[in-house]
């Protein structure tokens, strides 16, 4: 450890004031603070609410994502080889297939995203934004596995530049950058982002073998052939990280235990979705409306989105009462979009982006109502408050 510290200190010299590489100081600083907890605390934006610095916060989210990522890799192999009749491969083989499929997109996502972050940090002389540590891993996890890498790269550029840098970097963005990248890819290249061919790696068109997601087939009024247990474990077609609810719950527990993800948003989101599903079950006109509440929670990207993206500390509601409303409405709109708009089988992405836009308004009214309440209290009972 001491050796590493010494090496970093030696390398640091030309970057300090007056040194030859002074211009790139911010870039070096980013790497240094990544390796060692800095002596100073983060000053602006996202980080006024916690004792650990933003890089450590983000690392915990990355750790929470690991179970879903590992399972996702396995599931890619599983889905791909289950198309082939009678193939009987070992777990490690299936995992290996998925690993080599996912790795390039993770590398591209980090290389492009961090490249832009470093360039902006040096150009505008601000600290490198840590937020991309999480977004960079989230983006490949919410994309279909076969999305061409250049499309992924363009989506990342859009998310980082338009979603984050124009607003002033991490802590200032209105929308969740990872979802913005997905929304961009979704509207730009719909053929690669939806339908029944994109969710399984190198999907073949063998008869009787459907690569459609559960929600995709429901939208066409077909009863899906997966059991609830399959959906819970994640042995269904879908984006890389979203399929296994078990892995997502492990991640959620890590986030809640460390206090980084808001349990209020997660819980109210689930409540919102369940209540909405009950309402539609009562109507029950088609397959989608008859789909039971626990199955709704098991399919699609809702669980992943509510745990890892709705709880984004920057774009979610900040006030405690606001979080309940925000989460509830995310759940509500997800189910509404699922049921009423078969063109978008999964509504979680659009629901969260919509609520990101509304979150500041929710906060504004929560804060205001609190002010009004306290004023009233002061009027009716001036002695107690004074």
């Amino acid at each position: 450890m001491q050796f590493l510290r010494n090496t970093v200190d030696k390398l640091k010299k030309p970057f300090l004031k007056g040194g030859k590489l002074e211009r790139y100081e911010k870039g070096f600083q980013a790497i240094e603070t990544f390796l060692f907890v800095p002596n100073h605390t983060t000053k602006h934006g996202a980080h006024v609410r916690d004792g650990i610095d933003l890089k450590r916060t983000m690392m915990i989210v990355v750790i929470a994502l690991v179970p879903a990522l590992l399972f996702g890799m396995y599931n890619i192999g599983y889905q791909h080889f289950s198309q082939v009749e009678g193939s009987d491969l070992s777990l490690i083989h299936l995992f290996g297939y998925g690993f080599w499929k996912v790795l390039p997109s993770i590398i591209v996502s980090y290389a492009v995203g961090l490249g832009i972050e470093f360039a902006f940090a040096i150009w505008r002389n601000h600290d490198v934004n840590e937020g991309y540590l999480v977004s960079g891993l989230l983006i490949p996890m919410i994309m279909p596995i076969d999305l061409p890498l250049w499309m992924l790269a363009i989506s990342v550029v859009f998310a980082v530049v338009i979603g984050k840098e124009v607003f002033g970097g991490t802590g200032m963005n209105i929308f969740n950058p990872a979802l913005l990248a997905r929304a961009f890819a979704f509207f730009s290249y719909p053929n690669f982002m939806s339908g029944d061919k994109v969710w399984v790696s190198d999907a073949m068109t063998t008869d009787g073998m459907s690569g459609a997601t559960v929600l995709g087939s429901l939208a066409q009024n077909i009863t899906p052939s997966y059991s609830t247990m399959d959906m819970f474990l994640g042995l269904i077609p879908g984006s890389v990280g979203e399929t296994s609810k078990l892995a997502i719950i492990i991640g959620a527990l890590i986030l809640i235990a460390t206090g980084i993800g808001s349990w209020k948003i997660m819980l109210s989101g689930v409540i919102g979705a369940v209540v909405t599903v009950f309402a539609f079950n009562a109507v029950g006109l088609n397959e989608l409306m008859n789909f039971s509440w626990y199955n709704h929670l098991m399919v699609g990207g809702f669980a992943f989105a509510i745990v890892f993206m709705a709880t984004d500390p920057v774009s979610a509601a900040q006030t405690e009462r606001g979080k309940w409303m925000y989460g509830f409405l995310v759940g509500f709109f997800t189910i509404m979009i699922r049921i009423f708009n078969p063109a978008y089988p999964e509504g979680a992405m659009l629901a969260i982006l919509l609520m990101n836009a509304v979150a500041p308004t929710i906060d504004y009214y929560v804060v205001n109502s609190n002010i009004v309440k306290r004023k009233k209290r002061m009027k009716t009972n001036p002695l107690k408050t004074a």
């Binding site: 061409p148 250049w150 124009v166 961009f184 509207f187 730009s188 290249y189 719909p190 053929n191 690669f192």
Partner: protein, 220 residues
């Protein structure tokens, strides 16, 4: 009035009336007028060009007419008078397009008629023509029309190139259906940039780039 008589037709201040809207005082990116049509007609460069031409003609002519009438119009009903004149000119433009450029007019459809509501036209009438001589108003109208056209063409260039792989209708990137040119390597047109929301973002990027190079525009 006396000093305008001494001025030549193309004096320095008059030339500035034309050139200022190109950059420093651009109707779209600085005055933020006429955004709606910039989003609606910029899918193809040809349409954007015809639209820019039509708007320029309407602004310039309505500026001249209002400027001639400026001392006769009672200020309480000036908006109505302006609207009548703009509407007259727009109908003329619409009929001319229908007669000589029917295809383009079909594609522009309702947006030609909506020049009436283009904020640049009313904005220039209110801000300039009501207080200036016809010649100056004419130059101001031409300048603003061209300033509008520049942004329109830049946005349309990006949207047509990235959205349909064409420039002015020519398939310079190859044929997306037969998979020639760039498409043979797996390139796909971007569907999002055809939609209006992305046009707004493109306009935003144009404003960003413009302000990066023109430091005068940055508000403190």
């Amino acid at each position: 009035m006396s000093d305008t008589n001494k001025e030549g037709l193309f004096s320095k201040s008059n030339i500035k009336l034309i050139t200022a809207p190109f950059n420093d005082d651009n109707p779209i990116s600085v005055q933020v007028l006429g955004i709606c049509s910039a989003l609606a007609v910029t899918v193809q460069m040809k349409n954007a060009f015809v639209m820019a031409l039509s708007v320029t003609a309407v602004i310039a002519l309505s500026n001249v007419i209002i400027s001639l009438l400026r001392n006769l119009i009672p200020s309480r009903i000036r908006i109505i008078v302006q609207l009548v004149i703009v509407a007259l000119l727009v109908i003329l433009v619409d009929l001319i397009l229908k007669a000589y450029a029917y295809d383009v007019s079909k594609q522009l459809s309702v947006f030609v008629g909506l020049i009436i509501t283009n904020c640049i036209v009313m904005g220039r009438l209110e801000a300039f023509a009501l207080g200036n001589t016809p010649w100056k108003s004419f130059l101001d109208g031409i300048g603003n029309g061209i300033g509008y056209g520049i942004i329109l063409m830049v946005v349309a260039f990006l949207r047509e190139l990235l959205g349909s792989g064409k420039i002015w209708g020519f398939e310079i990137l190859g044929d997306p259906i037969e998979k020639t040119g760039l498409y043979a390597y797996g390139y796909v047109n971007n569907g999002f940039i055809i939609l209006a929301p992305m046009a707004l973002i493109v306009v935003g990027i144009v404003i960003w780039v413009q302000r990066h190079f023109n430091r005068k525009l940055i508000e403190k």
